[in-house]
């Protein structure tokens, strides 16, 4: 069996980058360690080019366990561009903190290596390896601020819950293998389709796998680790966890639900739909009461995960058109979410830099202290809330349309919850904007000096979310090319 090296070229490139970064850190001294960031960035760009070259092709290797198609390429591009953005917003944070730069970048790259494998995985084993590759470096990264108790707490909580969730998933996977005799996702689907009278235990194992991913995407009631972990981790790591790690969870969840368990959509779809409603409602209602910007964004990201779960709720077995549309809307939402949330964390990092400010009150008068950062943050917040003309509006639009298009009572109910939550969420996003612009800054609050790289990264993200808000077709022309559920 020959290996299709072109198909795994991005993974190889990212692996080499990670190793080079680790070695470079060994040999560089003092301020020289800052060089690892540019090295990682160059490697990321090379990987992006290699991934883009795969667009339009369908390749399959390792006996069909690893597939590169439009769906995988769109996902990989999203992860890699997010990686680029996180490298940019986190540069100064680590360069000035002078702690574990080499380790951080190495772990970050390895974690993203797992992510870009995820959308290509068409086998439970590969999926499991990918999810572990994403998670294990993340456990360490969460605890990088070693002397900070909160950081250690974050790491421990994340580790225990992460291991638990993976164990649950793995348990489910092993039982599914026992029932179906295969680990291939399409193979499982074929067996399930021919099983007319499923055993309750089989259905239970499906739900175990889904619950495992539920922890990963921080769906209520599996979300309780997220706020503490986000709040305690170093901020660039929080951005990575809130965006990329969550997106990886969604990539895995999409693969198991829409490919492997597709024939039993009538069982998992309502369950995930209910989870979606709980997730967005509880996430948003809790976010209303937060006083700390990181915790606010943490709960907001739980709420956002709820919107992204909505399209799962309308899936129907055998309805390829509808399912494809559901996947597209999740994908679009993930892309939009990555842009606006990394951007928002970029601003949080900039504000945090002078004196560790992260309470909402520290944002008072940000409009006077740094108009660019305040404008950008306002844009990101409005986008997260779903206001026009930002990309977040279209994200909600596609989710909403998908659930209406299902033309079922449950679909309409989900649509109504999306609408109600959008209005609730707007309230706390607006409040932050209000504090930034309409409160006087604290006495002696310093002007922000985010530095050139962070400032330009945030500006670019802001412009991207605006341009995509005006011309969402730029993304949909790619995301509508996917055919994962076409059968």
């Amino acid at each position: 069996m020959s290996i299709d090296y072109a198909a795994i070229a991005p993974e190889i490139a990212l692996t080499i980058t990670a190793i080079v970064v680790l070695l470079a850190d060994l040999f560089l001294k003092g301020d020289g360690k800052r060089l690892v960031n540019p090295i990682a960035t160059v490697g990321t760009i090379v990987t992006i080019v290699l991934t883009a070259a795969l667009w339009g092709e369908t390749r399959s290797t390792f006996g069909g366990m690893f597939v590169v198609d439009a769906y995988a390429v769109v996902f990989k591009m999203m992860f890699l561009l997010t990686l680029g953005a996180i490298l940019a917003v986190g540069y100064r944070y680590f360069a000035e903190g002078r702690f574990f730069q080499g380790e951080y970048y190495f772990l970050l790259l390895v974690s993203f290596l797992g992510m870009i494998v995820m959308p290509s995985a068409r086998d439970l084993v590969v999926l499991f390896v990918a999810i572990e590759t994403v998670s294990i470096p993340a456990f360490v990264m969460a605890g990088l601020r070693k002397r900070d108790l909160y950081s250690s707490e974050a790491a421990i909580k994340f580790f225990l819950i992460g291991v638990l969730s993976v164990a649950i998933s793995l348990f489910g996977m092993s039982m599914i293998y026992g029932f179906t005799g295969t680990t291939s996702l399409t193979g499982i689907a074929d067996v399930l389709r021919s099983t007319s009278n499923p055993e309750p235990l089989l259905l239970g194992s499906l739900l175990l796998v889904i619950v495992g991913f539920g922890f990963k995407v921080s769906a209520v009631p599996f979300h309780f680790w997220a706020p503490d972990t986000y709040a305690g981790s170093p901020l660039p790591v929080t951005a990575m966890l809130a965006v990329a790690s969550k997106a990886a969870g969604f990539a895995g969840l999409l693969a198991v639900t829409f490919i492997a368990f597709e024939p039993y959509a009538s069982i998992w779809a309502p369950a995930l739909g209910v989870l979606a409603v709980l997730t967005m409602t509880i996430g948003n209602l809790t976010a209303l009461q937060q006083r700390d910007i990181v915790r606010l964004l943490a709960y907001s990201s739980i709420g956002q995960a709820g919107y992204m779960l909505v399209p799962f709720g309308i899936a129907q077995a055998g309805n390829a058109t509808l399912n494809t549309q559901a996947i597209e809307s999740v994908l679009f939402y993930l892309i939009a979410y990555a842009i606006m949330n990394v951007g928002a964390f970029g601003v949080v990092i900039a504000v945090y830099r002078k004196g560790g400010d992260r309470s909402l009150n520290d944002y008072a008068g940000l409009g006077y202290r740094s108009p660019i950062m305040a404008i950008a943050m306002t844009g990101f917040l409005l986008s997260l809330g779903g206001a026009v003309p930002m990309v977040g509006f279209w994200a909600k639009w596609f989710v909403f349309v998908a659930s209406v298009q299902a033309a079922t009572t449950f679909g309409y109910a989900l649509a109504i919850f999306v609408v109600l939550n959008a209005v609730i969420a707007m309230f706390y996003y607006l409040r932050v904007a209000w504090i930034m612009w309409m409160r006087e800054p604290r006495e002696g609050a310093p002007a922000l000096t985010p530095g050139f790289i962070l400032a330009s990264a945030v500006t670019v993200l802001m412009l991207v979310s605006l341009v995509l808000g005006l011309l969402p077709g730029i993304v949909t022309q790619y995301s509508s090319a996917i055919e994962i559920a076409a059968r």
């Binding site: 026009v388 003309p389 609408v419 959008a422 209005v423 309230f427 309409m438 077709g473």
Partner: protein, 509 residues
């Protein structure tokens, strides 16, 4: 003069202010005066382009879309960038540019705390793009984008430059309107899917006749919530007095002058032609709520002690007349509604300008604290205030009269089906509206009596108060002139709309 197939002209007029907003935000913040004149420049240039469009407009063919652009925009959902202008859009479109330009001029002199003309004017120009875009969008998605675009700038205008309760007022404005527009969006989607999921084009959908009567009623309900909150109709009006009272002068002027009209325009442009059966089912409700608004608004005005709040409630009443015109569902009624839109925009816009300047002078808008004698103390201002208030109460010969009179006239003989089923109700509505005109006259005259007549209160007697300043003359006289022109020659608006409204009414049958 621009030839009327030049679609780019509309895009230029609509997006020039947005460009101005970008230019302003890039200017250094200490350039105070320069920022103010940049805004005048951009809104002036946009007004110039709009004037060119007006000059190139073929008034003989006002039922046709002119200056049309129709290009692909978002293929995935088959939304198109379709803009154009016809007789229904033209007056509102032009009023948008005129009012914003006057506001920019006014701001060269007056700007409430905390100053910051750069941010204020950038928001105002962004608002202009949203408002103008709403009136020329002929694709439901595009319409919705422009419609929503006005929310954020207005939110910040009220929230940053507003009065003491600005936080409450701005959030209430934002969430209330957002809530309504979400339902509107749901209705748009329902229409889109019901029509086969091919087009969002307002013109095509109007010609289509979509769905069953039941579907149309449900879809109209969604559209109704969105537009009724914006108008605002009783009982959805409660955000308006708060927003108006707290908003800075320019915010109030644009809110009353243009933003409210987006609601009635939406009813006429989208609700009526696309969902005629739904509109027919809802017409009596619109009429009843409109007349309740007229009477309720007037009664509230009688109880107000704050000039701006009084004008805000008078808006509720005036918009009630507009809704009564729409509820008649006949050509005359829609003409009246559109005319009332413009008249109210000009008159109430000017009233809010005047109220703003009143605050500049007296630093209060409580009627008791001002305490009378304005005609003695600041005679020119007093005369102008009287003139506008009298126009607002509907004196024949000034702008306010024709909209209200025609609306009542139209409602006596509403559309055929309505007359057959609800003839008595409509007659009662007209009587109610008639009582409303009396109350309106009553509270405006009482207001004039309290602030204009008599002797100046002792605390003001020896204070030096400026009469109307040069910059105020410049920004107010055009409006005062239009009020008179519309009063003595109403055809200037009716004539433009004639053919377009006639065509629209054909969709209703």
């Amino acid at each position: 003069m621009i030839s009327n197939d030049a679609g780019w002209a509309i895009a230029l007029a609509v997006f020039l202010p947005a460009l101005g907003a970008i230019v302003l935000s890039l200017m250094p913040s200490h350039k105070d005066t320069e920022a103010r004149w940049t805004a005048v420049l951009f809104s002036g240039a946009a007004l110039l382009v709009a004037t060119g469009i007006l000059a190139g407009f073929d008034f003989g063919a006002s039922d046709q879309l002119q200056f049309e652009t129709n290009v692909a925009w978002i293929d995935a959902i088959s939304a198109r960038y379709h803009t154009g202008i016809d007789g229904i859009s033209m007056p509102l479109f032009y009023l948008t540019f005129l009012l914003t330009f006057l506001c920019a001029i006014y701001t060269t002199k007056h700007l409430p705390d905390p100053g910051k003309p750069k941010a204020f004017l950038a928001l105002m120009l962004l608002l202009e793009t949203g408002m103008a875009g709403t009136f020329i969008a002929f694709d439901l998605v595009l319409f919705f984008i422009f419609w929503e675009l006005v929310l954020v700038p207005m939110y910040f205008m009220i929230g940053m430059w507003g009065g003491p309760r600005r936080e409450y007022a701005s959030v209430k404005f934002f969430l209330y309107t957002l809530f309504g527009s979400v339902f509107m969006l749901v209705a748009f989607l329902a229409v889109y899917f019901q029509s086969g999921g091919q087009t969002w084009d307002i013109m095509e959908l109007s010609a289509m006749g979509i769905g069953s009567r039941t579907f149309q009623i449900w879809a109209f309900l969604g559209i109704f919530l969105g537009f009724a909150i914006k108008v605002p109709m009783w009982p959805f009006h409660t955000w308006l007095p708060d927003a108006h009272t707290e908003a800075p002068t320019v915010g109030s002027v644009l809110l009353a002058g243009i933003l409210l009209k987006m609601g009635t325009y939406g009813f006429i442009r989208i609700g009526l032609p696309i969902l005629p059966e739904g509109a027919e089912a809802f017409a009596p409700i619109l009429g009843v709520l409109g007349v309740i608004g007229i009477i309720y608004g007037s009664l509230c005005c009688l109880a107000q002690t704050h000039v701006k709040r009084l004008i805000a409630f008078s808006s509720v009443g005036h918009m009630g007349f507009v809704m009564l015109g729409i509820a008649a569902l006949n050509e005359r009624g829609i003409q009246a509604a559109l005319y009332g839109n413009i008249a109210h925009g000009v008159v109430t816009g000017l009233l809010f300008f005047l109220a703003g300047s009143l605050h500049e002078r007296y630093h209060t808008l409580e009627i008791d604290e001002i305490g009378g004698g304005m005609l003695v103390k600041i005679p020119k201002y007093g005369v102008l205030f009287t003139y506008t208030a009298v126009a607002s109460l509907g004196l024949p010969g000034l702008a306010g009269f024709w909209g209200e009179f025609t609306a009542m006239w139209a409602a006596i003989f509403p559309a055929e089906n309505l007359e057959a089923n609800y003839g008595g109700l409509y007659l009662a509505l007209v009587i109610g509206a008639g009582i409303g005109t009396l109350l309106t006259a009553g509270y405006f005259l009482w207001l004039l009596q309290r602030v204009n007549l008599g002797r100046p209160a002792p605390q003001w007697a020896d204070k030096r108060l400026d009469d109307v300043m040069a910059i105020e003359w410049v920004s107010w006289l055009p409006l005062a002139f239009i009020i008179l022109l519309m009063g003595v020659y109403p055809r200037i608006i009716f004539g433009v709309q004639d053919a377009a409204v006639a065509r629209l009414v054909t969709f209703l049958n």
